[in-house]
């Protein structure tokens, strides 16, 4: 922990000059989520039904598949940044390393499955 003293900086524990970057990306992805997730909710409630045909038909359109894929990327990015801060605040020592590692797996795991599912529907449709 750099306490702003010369010694703290010499030990390399002061500002790494990247603190605001994380904070800023959190806000940029938040703004993206305001647009993309609200669009997603509006689109869902505007569907005639939530049947398999209606949902896959909706995702099949590029005008829906691309924003939906972007929403997945943006949501994953946003919660990756946000949960990192939560973990750093409450989890300490070796458990923190483990928790941050699990967060990586969760982010890319869920994101990967979601993107594959969207692209599969968008490119090929699904067997009835």
């Amino acid at each position: 922990m750099g306490s702003g003293t010369g010694l703290g900086r010499v030990r390399g524990l002061g500002s790494a000059r990247s603190g605001s970057h994380h904070w800023w990306l959190q806000r940029v992805t938040a703004m993206g989520n305001v647009v993309l997730v609200l669009w997603f909710l509006f689109a869902l409630v505007r569907l005639p039904s939530l049947s398999h045909d209606a949902v896959t038909g909706w995702i099949h359109s590029p005008l829906n598949a691309v924003p939906l894929a972007l929403m997945i990327i943006n949501v994953c990015w946003h919660f990756r940044l946000g949960l990192q801060v939560v973990i750093e605040d409450y989890v300490h020592g070796g458990m923190r390393v483990l928790a941050l590692g699990l967060l990586h797996f969760w982010t890319f795991g869920t994101g990967g499955f979601a993107l594959y599912a969207i692209l599969k529907i968008a490119f090929a449709g699904t067997p009835a």
Partner: protein, 131 residues
């Protein structure tokens, strides 16, 4: 962790009287964690089920329309809207505005009430349409 004893510590959280702004702040964080875990899991299940086929999708929908599934769905809707409203509140606070005591308190209440109203409107629409 070394700390210069000449430097003051900030007062501990425990000495503050609870207010709506504190509640909204910690709820926003909790809601974010909920959305990233339960919300993301539900979204991935829904998408993968849709990509797998009608049978897998109908299985998801049967879980989602069972009453515990509906409780989760309503909770996630509220969680999303609270995180949205609290996030918008933070955009204003990040600009350095809205820190006056009365204003801050009013917007914190507004965030909570807004989340309830938006959740209610969304589910009224869903029930009305019979989705």
């Amino acid at each position: 962790m070394a700390r210069s004893s000449a430097r003051p510590l900030s007062p501990h959280l425990g000495i503050y009287k609870w207010g709506p702004h504190m509640a909204v702040s910690i709820l926003n964080r909790a809601m974010g964690v909920g959305l990233a875990t339960v919300g993301m899991a539900a979204l991935v299940w829904w998408l993968v089920a849709a990509a797998t086929g009608k049978e897998a999708y109908d299985l998801f929908m049967s879980w989602a329309s069972w009453w515990p599934g509906k409780v989760v769905a309503v909770a996630l809707t509220f969680t999303f809207f609270l995180h949205l409203c609290a996030g918008l509140r933070h955009f204003v606070l990040d600009l350095g505005a809205g820190f006056e005591l009365q204003t801050n308190r009013a917007w914190a209440w507004g965030t909570l009430i807004g989340a309830f109203v938006l959740t209610g409107l969304t589910w009224l629409l869903i029930i009305w349409k019979g989705l």
